[in-house]
């Protein structure tokens, strides 16, 4: 029995070391010091392939390996998104919503006032841009026309929208503090919460619609995988996630799911979970606030910089 355990231990160590050595890690920081400029809220790539980072102290663009301020200096950026027209959208705490077509000159959007503060910006496959507000529900922009959606119109849990995901079936998923809503212009809307589903908490912080049209839901009490019919809940207790507080989710090009928590990031290959933390990997910070997949690289935005994982 003891021999088996030793063999198992050695095998486990070998696999663990190999799995780390297969991935190349790089760290990027916007400032060399303890700074809100390293507090990353969003990572995006423009049509030219340049990386942009929304931070708690402004927006930055990487040009020739160096970060340059891209406006919104000193803004508390909560949301940043580049749409399929290459327009840049910034949602700032206390700063409203602003847009730039060229990435240099910015216009504050006044059409949607009085939006409090934008928590999230994303777009669906038809190019409609969707906005989740701190206390004004959901807004959308399609062909220059703004539409506002309130809880009673589309079964939103409440007016604080933390996260939005759009799947290929034209469903929009909205995370709030009172559950998650699926909305489809043709088929209507439905709210899922703890009372009518297996959602592990009503506080939904992050969403990801995967390539198979399943929805991954990050809550304050674990991760839910919803196929539209069945629910699977992944938690620290049953999956080995480093924490049940799920801050960010993304699917990579292999269809693997990356899950950011306040205590590290986990990778799920469909069968097995692997967790990376500052203790066992070069991850720059355990507070994983945003994840962006771009050209076979995983860009992990944390409270203290960006870790890039190059997958083999």
């Amino acid at each position: 029995m003891k021999t088996n355990r030793k063999i198992f231990l050695l095998l486990f160590l070998f696999i663990t070391v190999c799995s780390f050595s297969q991935n190349k890690w790089t760290t990027l920081r916007i400032s060399d010091t303890f700074s809100p400029k390293n507090d990353i809220s969003a990572i995006q790539f423009d049509k030219a392939g340049n990386m942009w980072a929304g931070t708690w102290c402004g927006l930055y663009k990487m040009i020739d390996g160096k970060w340059e301020s891209a406006g919104n200096q000193n803004a508390y950026i909560q949301a940043f998104y580049i749409d399929n027209q290459n327009a840049k959208w910034v949602g700032a705490w206390g700063g409203g919503l602003s847009k730039s077509d060229d990435g240099a000159s910015w216009t504050t959007i006044k059409d949607i006032q009085p939006a409090g503060a934008i928590n999230i910006v994303t777009a669906d496959r038809e190019g409609t841009v969707w906005f989740g507000d701190w206390n004004c529900g959901v807004l959308s922009l399609k062909n220059s026309k703004w539409t506002s959606y309130k809880p009673e119109q589309i079964s939103l849990g409440d007016n604080t929208v933390t996260s939005i995901a759009c799947d290929s079936k034209n469903n929009k998923w909205f995370g709030t503090y009172h559950g998650i809503t699926v909305y489809n212009e043709l088929t209507g809307s439905k709210l899922y919460n703890r009372e009518n589903s297996k959602l592990p908490a009503n506080d939904v912080y992050s969403l990801c619609a995967d390539s198979k049209n399943n929805i991954w839901i990050g809550t304050t009490n674990g991760l839910a995988w919803f196929t539209g019919k069945s629910w699977t809940i992944y938690k620290k207790e049953n999956a080995g996630l480093p924490s049940n507080l799920i801050l960010s989710i993304a699917e990579d090009q292999k269809g693997f799911i990356w899950v950011g928590t306040d205590k590290g990031v986990s990778l799920f290959n469909g069968k097995k979970w692997t967790t990376y933390t500052v203790e066992n990997s070069p991850l720059v910070d355990n507070r994983v606030q945003t994840i962006k997949v771009h050209q076979n690289k995983i860009f992990i935005g944390t409270g203290k910089g960006i870790s890039i994982v190059e997958c083999n």
């Binding site: 198992f8 231990l9 486990f12 160590l13 663990t16 070391v17 780390f20 050595s21 303890f34 809100p36 507090d39 102290c57 000193n74 508390y76 705490w93 206390g94 701190w134 206390n135 809880p151 409440d158 007016n159 604080t160 933390t162 503090y177 009172h178 908490a201 506080d203 912080y205 304050t220 009490n221 620290k236 207790e237 049953n238 080995g240 924490s243 049940n244 507080l245 801050l247 928590t261 306040d262 203790e279 066992n280 990997s281 070069p282 507070r287 606030q289 409270g303």
Partner: protein, 351 residues
């Protein structure tokens, strides 16, 4: 992977093999001893909630509270291990919560709730930060901080309160309740208001320990300018609001703000850093619906996130949000007993 990380990984992997099976088997692993998490050391305490829709579950009950019930409530809080209570207001909307020469008194079943709770606190060892306001519309904080008439009224009231109640052992200090909204830094209005209050407080009660609880925590720019403003702010304790309940900050994010504050306060070397942690959520929309108890899972994560950086965690608030099952002074949402029980179970596991 470098050598340091390799060794760490080996150690962690080995450790996880040894402890892994137990950790996964126990669904209540959060209830294990977690010495890195500080317990709740105190709470805000109010005679009424200023914004009625938020106080839906307790505003109508508190005026009926008898002297025995006010005492029981203080004792009940003390039994949770909390040591500090922060009284939100001694007056509200032109009426007082104690017999005063300055304004008419609220018609409460208990003739002097302030005397009652301080007496109970004397007996059970609770330390009270006693409010010095709201001598005007609490929603107009800027006016309350800057208006000369309000200032005179407030300072006269402080004299009256000190005269009537500062003999209590539980009269630990003052709370200046006009909430300063921090945006980038501490503004001059706040500094003038707090420093003036503190000057009067120290004259009346030289040994008082005094507290403010600003909001806007996540918007502070923790730079040298902030340190300079902190140095100028004459107050003993700053309990920053974590703003999780009002949905301005997500759970898991607050810790980084307090980490920065910890560094700034260490540099300034003046006010002590405490937390005003929100243990409520909104029943429906933020600022438009009732405050109800948050899930303890969420609250425990809040506590864990900020514990490394703050000296004490106070909560907003026990009243209406927590209740001991079977309490003779029950007031609040029905779910408040579950939060109480969940917290006390966790606390017992720490012994």
């Amino acid at each position: 992977m470098d050598r340091r990380n390799f060794l760490k990984t080996c150690g962690l992997t080995s450790a996880s093999l040894l402890i892994g099976s137990d950790a996964f088997a126990n669904p209540f692993s959060e209830l294990k001893r977690t010495p890195q998490i500080k317990p709740i050391m105190g709470s805000w305490f109010e005679f009424t909630h200023g914004y009625a829709p938020e106080g839906k579950y307790w505003n109508s009950v508190l005026p009926q509270f008898t002297e025995a019930q006010w005492k029981a409530k203080v004792w009940e809080i003390s039994e949770t291990g909390m040591q500090y209570l922060v009284l939100m207001a001694v007056a509200n909307a032109g009426k007082t919560f104690y017999p005063s020469k300055l304004q008419p008194q609220y018609d409460y079943a208990c003739s002097d709730p302030l005397e009652t709770i301080l007496s109970a606190a004397d007996e059970c060892g609770i330390k009270f930060f006693v409010s010095n306001d709201f001598w005007g519309n609490w929603e107009d904080g800027n006016k309350l901080m800057t208006d000369s008439d309000v200032l005179k009224l407030r300072e006269t009231a402080m004299e009256e309160i000190a005269e009537k109640y500062s003999h209590h052992k539980s009269f630990y200090g003052w709370y200046y309740p006009n909430e300063s909204g921090l945006w980038n830094t501490i503004d001059e209005t706040t500094i003038n208001y707090v420093n003036r209050c503190n000057k009067v407080a120290k004259e009346l009660t030289p040994h008082s320990v005094n507290l403010v609880a600003p909001y806007g925590t996540k918007s502070i720019r923790l730079d040298d300018n902030y340190v300079r403003q902190l140095e100028r702010l004459d107050v003993d304790i700053i309990a920053y609001q974590d703003e999780i309940g009002v949905k301005k900050t997500k759970v898991g994010y607050a810790g980084k703000y307090y980490e920065g504050l910890y560094k700034a306060h260490a540099k300034a070397g003046r006010a002590r850093l405490w937390a005003d942690m929100e243990i409520f959520e909104f029943e429906y929309d933020v600022y438009k619906s009732a405050l109800i108890p948050a899930d303890f899972n969420r609250i425990l994560k809040q506590m864990e996130d900020i514990s490394p950086f703050v000296e004490n965690i106070l909560v907003y608030q026990y009243m209406g949000i927590m209740n001991k099952p079977g309490s003779s002074a029950f007031v609040g949402h029905p779910g408040s007993t579950k939060l109480y029980t969940d917290y006390m179970n966790w606390l017992k596991a720490q012994e």
